[in-house]
């Protein structure tokens, strides 16, 4: 049984039997395996870190011809992995640097460019989005007729934002592509990026409900919060009144406006959609020398007995989202 950090393994006898028979059929074909991945569980924002991946090529039964190793790396889009990551490997049959795959280099199995092939074939794991597969190919080809072992070194650079994300790693080769046993894939445990900017966005969690109308904003913008009673818990359908209960966090200070009918009532826009537009600074009466880090909001009816929150009962987080 493989055992490495972050690999999810659940015993399933039917799956084991299926794997056994498939392995029997393919025992004479090339087999690429990720033996172990060493990846930190916490990294600092904007600070490069190294991941090592132990790889085994069991047998190149087909011809013994040299092949180009392909490595896939799933990482947040905000990391700009294509420009900020370097990959190389050392192995028992030779060492090589690796470069980004081009759109002309395709997976022989899916006939798609490598990064698209990884995405289609393996998805994005527990992340709700905002991640991308970036694929690298060896600069030099090596034959491994008698099998080989090696270590892939990935030096990644996290972005400046705090977050929680699930990374993933895949290996394959240009000759055979993502078919049979010619590849392996590992989704590691969700890792944290700390000491960066802003409230950490949890890409591993459920996709946050989009409440702010603008795609990007900071707490200095005029913000429009849209509450669609048809989404999620729908017990506010047909409501005659919806009130915003909001907290603004500014360093150690917390400013709260709740049950405040004059300013916190949402305007009905029709079709069970409500909205409110406010400027956080004036709404919460924040002193001129302070800034808002993020907000927590819930929605209530006029009696206050119905409260719309996240599924787990927590308030919705509204954190700045801006790529300036």
């Amino acid at each position: 049984m493989k055992n490495f950090k972050g690999h999810r393994f659940e015993w399933n006898p039917y799956r084991a039997m299926a794997v056994f028979f498939v392995c029997m059929l393919l025992i004479f074909s090339m087999c690429m395996t990720i033996l172990q991945i060493d990846q930190p569980s916490v990294v600092n924002a904007g600070e490069a870190f190294e991941i090592t991946m132990q790889v085994e090529v069991s047998k190149d039964d087909d011809s013994g011809n040299p092949f180009f190793l392909v490595v896939g790396f799933l990482a947040p889009r905000s990391w700009s992995t294509a420009t900020n990551t370097s990959v190389r490997f050392e192995s028992s049959v030779g060492n090589s640097s690796m470069r980004l795959t081009t759109n002309d280099e395709i997976d022989e199995n899916t006939k798609l460019p490598w990064n698209t092939a990884f995405l289609r074939r393996f998805g994005i794991g527990d992340n709700y989005g905002e991640v991308e597969w970036v694929t690298f190919i060896a600069d030099e080809a090596f034959a491994a007729a008698a099998g080989a072992t090696g270590t892939v070194y990935i030096t990644a650079l996290p972005g400046e934002d705090n977050m929680i994300v699930q990374l993933a790693y895949g290996i394959s080769n240009q000759t055979w592509g993502l078919g049979d046993d010619n590849f392996d894939l590992v989704f590691t445990d969700c890792m944290e990026v700390i000491n960066g900017k802003g409230y950490p966005s949890n890409l591993c969690g459920p996709k946050p409900r989009q409440l702010v109308e603008q795609a990007t904003f900071t707490m200095d913008d005029l913000i429009t919060i849209v509450f669609d009673a048809k989404e999620g818990d729908d017990f506010m359908l047909g409501a005659s009144y919806v009130d915003l209960c909001a907290k603004a966090y500014s360093g150690d200070q917390v400013y709260e406006i709740c049950n405040h009918e004059d300013v916190a009532a949402l305007n009905y826009m029709g079709d069970d959609v409500w909205e409110i537009t406010f400027w956080p600074r004036s709404y919460f009466d924040i002193p001129e020398d302070q800034d808002i880090d993020f907000m927590e909001v819930t929605f209530t009816n006029d009696n206050g007995n119905l409260v719309v929150t996240n599924i787990d009962g927590s308030a919705f987080i509204i954190a700045p989202k801006c790529f300036d």
């Binding site: 990007t216 900071t218 707490m219 913008d221 005029l222 537009t277 004036s282 001129e288 801006c322 300036d324």
Partner: protein, 159 residues
């Protein structure tokens, strides 16, 4: 002197003398003085002084005048000896790139395209959508508040 000259020669001398006289006459005519009013070429600073109120507001090209109460906003621009000086914001409840009073100036006093607002806490650049002209009682300004993706336009009217 014309005694020994042929008729054609005499005609030539007369023509040439007449031409010289004409040229001298034209020069003398050009010397008549041209009157230029005093200060006609002096550049004048655009005067935008006064209290300005918001008449309409847009965010990313969409009118938001009805989504938020902009009526309390007032921007008072002072002018001293035709020089831009201080500004005051009447209410700080309405979104604006600066939140405290301070000084202001144009990027170009004669052909301004931007207004620079400087306070102890903030500095902001506000663009004129169309260059303002002295005597006009309306102006359209463009600015950002937080994320650069969001562009705000206010139509202001002089009170």
């Amino acid at each position: 002197m014309f005694k020994h000259m042929k008729v054609t020669q005499i005609s030539y001398v007369i023509k040439k003398t007449s031409l010289v006289c004409l040229v001298i006459g034209l020069f003398l005519m050009c010397e008549s003085p041209i009157f230029i009013p005093e200060g006609a070429f002096q550049e004048v600073t655009v005067n935008m002084s006064g209290s300005w109120k918001i008449t309409s507001a847009y965010r990313n090209g969409i009118e938001i005048s009805d989504k938020f109460d902009f009526s309390g906003f007032g921007l008072k621009l002072d002018f001293d000896n035709s020089e831009a000086t201080t500004y005051q914001i009447e209410t700080k409840q309405v979104p604006f790139p600066v939140i405290s009073d301070g000084n202001w100036k144009y990027n170009d006093p004669v052909y301004p395209t931007q207004m620079l607002l400087l306070s102890t806490l903030d500095t902001a650049i506000i663009e004129f959508v169309a260059s303002p002209i002295s005597g006009f009682n309306e102006m359209r300004i463009k600015f950002q508040l937080g994320c650069s993706d969001n562009v705000y336009i206010y139509d202001l009217e002089l009170q």
